[in-house]
Symmetry: C2
Subunit: 284 residues, 2 copies
């Protein structure tokens, strides 16, 4: 059996009781470690589980899935995923390959940022499609997120923006020379995300949002160190929410007064918050 087990969002104790039981008795335990991270390291997990954990990087999962699935017809293999196994990213390929090999599959769900973002006080019913923001480079500034946000904005919905993480990435030079040397990990911040959003609005000028549009920055959601900051995109582009992981929600115009009451408590500046609320979000 292939078990896809969600680890939740923050630390080693966010695994479910059911998930932990399977981890303890599985033949092998893999940790998917390239689409998201917990706020604790592999060693912490290993000591909590009382056993070894094998790191599965992108290469292993995408080209070496048969190694992961070896003997899974008879034995239990645990594949650990931060968040929910089918959350912000999916492991459809691995499951399809397991199906081909007639390996039974079970997934153990857990918290995902897609639902835990509800702890901002914004109603999950009011969210449109989720978008991703990658690190811009000098010559790669993909703006497809802008078109998606535009669709959400056109029907008044909030947009959750998930931000890039770079783990075990090679520099172009090292890649070109075939050197397996990796860059230190990088995690996008709310400030970088807000800046890139404003940069693209400035370029495309379709008035999807503005520097004084309201958004909520969220850091370390689901942990004791969770921090929320609500403000204009301009304010958030200068806010420091501390260590990763971050995400951002752009407010939709359908925002409700109850949502306002909730998020105003995290306002960077209540005056600018109230001004923007009145300008854009106060319904007819």
């Amino acid at each position: 059996m292939l078990y896809l087990i969600g680890l939740g969002l923050a630390d080693e104790t966010d695994i479910t009781v059911k998930g932990l039981e399977i981890v303890k008795r599985a033949e092998r335990v893999y940790l998917e470690a390239y689409t998201s991270i917990l706020l604790v390291d592999k060693e912490k997990l290993e000591s909590f589980y009382g056993r070894d954990v094998i790191i599965a990087d992108r290469e292993t999962v995408e080209t070496g899935s048969d190694d992961i699935l070896q003997d899974a017809q008879e034995k239990d293999i645990a594949f650990l995923v931060v968040g929910d196994p089918f959350g912000a990213t999916t492991h459809t390929d691995l499951v399809l390959r397991a199906r081909e090999l007639s390996i039974p599959i079970q997934s153990i769900p857990n918290a995902s940022i897609l639902s835990a973002i509800g702890s901002t006080g914004l109603q999950l019913y009011n969210f449109g499609q989720t978008v991703s923001m990658v690190f811009f480079t000098d010559n790669w500034r993909p703006s497809s997120f802008y078109d998606r946000i535009k669709e959400n904005v056109s029907i008044g919905l909030h947009t959750l923006v998930l931000v890039d993480i770079k783990v075990k990435e090679q520099s172009y030079e090292d890649m070109a020379r075939g050197r397996k040397v990796y860059q230190p990990p990088r995690y996008m911040t709310v400030a970088q995300c807000a800046s890139q959003m404003l940069e693209i609005e400035d370029e495309r000028k379709e008035q999807v949002y503005a520097p004084d549009s309201l958004a909520v920055g969220a850091a370390r959601v689901g942990s004791k160190e969770q921090r929320l900051a609500c403000g204009t995109l301009q304010e958030l582009s200068q806010a420091d929410l501390g260590p990763p992981l971050h995400s951002l929600v752009l407010l939709g115009k359908r925002a409700h007064d109850l949502e306002r009451d909730y998020i105003r408590a995290f306002a960077i500046d209540e005056k600018t918050f109230d001004a923007s609320w009145t300008k854009y979000y106060q319904g007819p």
Copy 2:
């Protein structure tokens, strides 16, 4: 401290290790039991936790929140919610009241149907806003869900339809006479949901979807007894997916070939599936 603790979706072992530790040491433990249910009963939870659990029905939460919050400034109160505490429904009111009383709050996230629905193989990035479907009566057939689905359809997105549950409801007669007598619980099925959707399309005729539009019916998501059925709305309106809880996803036109490969394995009838796929979902 007020702890809002998600229980996940299926049984008593879906609580997180962190959540269970708090339940074991809290002063009082409440179970919110009117917006969703686990697939196990209160007694099972109590024996797993080794302690009593107080059922909090709608009345208690909406009008008696100060009883729940009593002494929470000094003592730990656990408020258990099926799914994620801020998932399909929110307990914003309770949190706002706790804030007024200067009670610190922490939420322990868990799986929600909003992310666990990813186990259908449909990409969560391709979902628009979530809608709710209530039981129609002879003179109450609210169709606001139809307008919301129309918005999602217009931009090619999937729609998750959460279906009604009726727990501890009074009949109109008993309510009028002030008799606290409650009806047996009722849980909407995928078949009822698909039928009501077709009924409203038939009435409004805005061609938001059709009898041969594709959808995925999901039952008992996150449990070992999870069952998925993919088919036309017409087929699903006659499908029997067994015991609750059910939900349904209407496919958006932006559906990807990888999603098709995944869900075709659950097709009620591969022939009608392929025909509808070709008709509506095969991109240019």
